[in-house]
């Protein structure tokens, strides 16, 4: 049952990423060129509504449909180094591959098979982070 639920949410998300063109390399290029409002509109709308959603969930202590426990939304750890440095590295990769982790999976389903290389390499990048984590400023 839970599996079906999560799988369905994933299918919907995959469709959204494709249909809103967020998964398109071209849209990412265009975004970094400030040539179109499209990507800013998508992310801006999602965040605007997201702020309202999170506010309502917290304010009315909405419970999870799976285990009836109040929904906990954890805060991010304080600090700035890891967020700034990690963010810059992530953004650099985003500008080259034109895909962040969600869209990668949507592109794979859409049949752009070379994205597999990106997914494998991103997994290796993740592994490498784990490997040198303790040597990095956080």
């Amino acid at each position: 049952m839970k599996t079906v639920l999560f799988f369905t949410i994933g299918i919907l998300f995959g469709i959204i990423l494709y249909m809103s063109e967020v998964a398109s390399w071209f849209r990412i290029y265009e975004m970094f060129q400030f040539d179109s409002f499209h990507m800013y509109g998508v992310i801006g709308t999602a965040v605007f509504l997201g702020v309202i959603i999170v506010f309502i969930v917290k304010k009315f202590k909405i419970k999870s449909i799976l285990d009836s426990a109040p929904i906990a939304i954890p805060n991010k750890e304080k600090g700035w180094k890891r967020y700034l440095f990690g963010g810059i590295i992530f953004g650099s990769g985003w500008a080259i591959s034109g895909a962040c982790p969600g869209p990668m999976f949507s592109l794979l389903g859409a049949g752009f098979l070379p994205i597999l290389i990106v997914i494998v390499s991103a997994t290796l990048g993740t592994f490498f982070y784990g490997f040198i984590q303790h040597k990095l400023p956080h």
Binding site: K2, T3, F6, F7, G10, I11, L12, G14, I15, L17, Y18, A23, F26, Y29, F32, Q33, D35, S36, F37, G41, I43, A46, V47, F48, V54, V57, I65, D67, A69, I73, E77, Y83, F85, G86, G87, I89, F90, G91, S92, G93, W94, A95, I96, G98, C100, P101, F105, S106, L113, P114, I117, S121, A122, T123, L124, G125, T126, F127, F128, L136
Partner: protein
């Protein structure tokens, strides 16, 4: 209605639908973040034996892998059964710029053929580009603790300063590469 849904979605509808995903995942008691799956994959493949960062109960993250599998199917469904056009309403400036750098299908296809057609597998230069891009995304996402979904959508929705710093970083790095490095990479590709 059908026509609205089968055309590329306008930004307000795309953004609205992403906020629905954020809500659905919160409602199931989970959080929205796709790059965690890459860490889970490492752990699944046994990386936890060597590196403590991957030594966690990956089965607790199974739900997110299932979401990712769904995303793959969603991409398949959208591209094969929903979308009714191949063209994209890109800005003319972007189309012209890419054309000048040898990318000829901007506005005509969903992803540039030069990077994402099967020819990419046999072009060492393209392979290098895809490997580099992916590696930085994977490394940077974990270093910063999230990606576009985890920081830009979930984190900003929860008004988290760390996420704002991360998103600032995404754009600082992305703008720098897009404006100064990518043109050089693409021009070399076109030769």
């Amino acid at each position: 209605m059908i026509q609205f849904l089968t055309q590329p979605w306008p930004w307000y509808f795309g953004g609205f639908m992403i906020s629905i995903i954020l809500f659905l995942l919160l409602w199931t008691g989970k959080s929205f973040g796709m790059s965690s799956n890459l860490r889970t994959l490492c752990s699944m493949m046994g990386a936890g034996k060597k590196v403590s960062f991957f030594d966690f109960d990956w089965k607790a993250q199974r739900w997110n892998l299932i979401v990712a599998l769904g995303v793959v199917l969603g991409g398949f469904i959208a591209s094969n059964y929903i979308v009714s056009t191949k063209s994209m309403d890109l800005s003319q400036n972007t189309v012209d710029q890419l054309l000048a750098m040898g990318i000829q299908d901007a506005g005509k296809s969903f992803a540039p053929e030069i990077l994402f057609s099967n020819d990419a597998f046999t072009n060492p230069y393209v392979l290098l580009l895809l490997i580099l891009g992916g590696f930085l995304v994977g490394f940077g996402a974990r270093y910063s603790g999230g990606c576009t979904s985890g920081h830009a959508i979930s984190g900003l929705s929860n008004i988290q300063l760390p996420s704002l710093i991360a998103v600032f970083g995404f754009f600082a790095g992305g703008l720098l590469i897009n404006h100064f490095i990518l043109p050089l990479l693409l021009k070399t590709l076109a030769i």
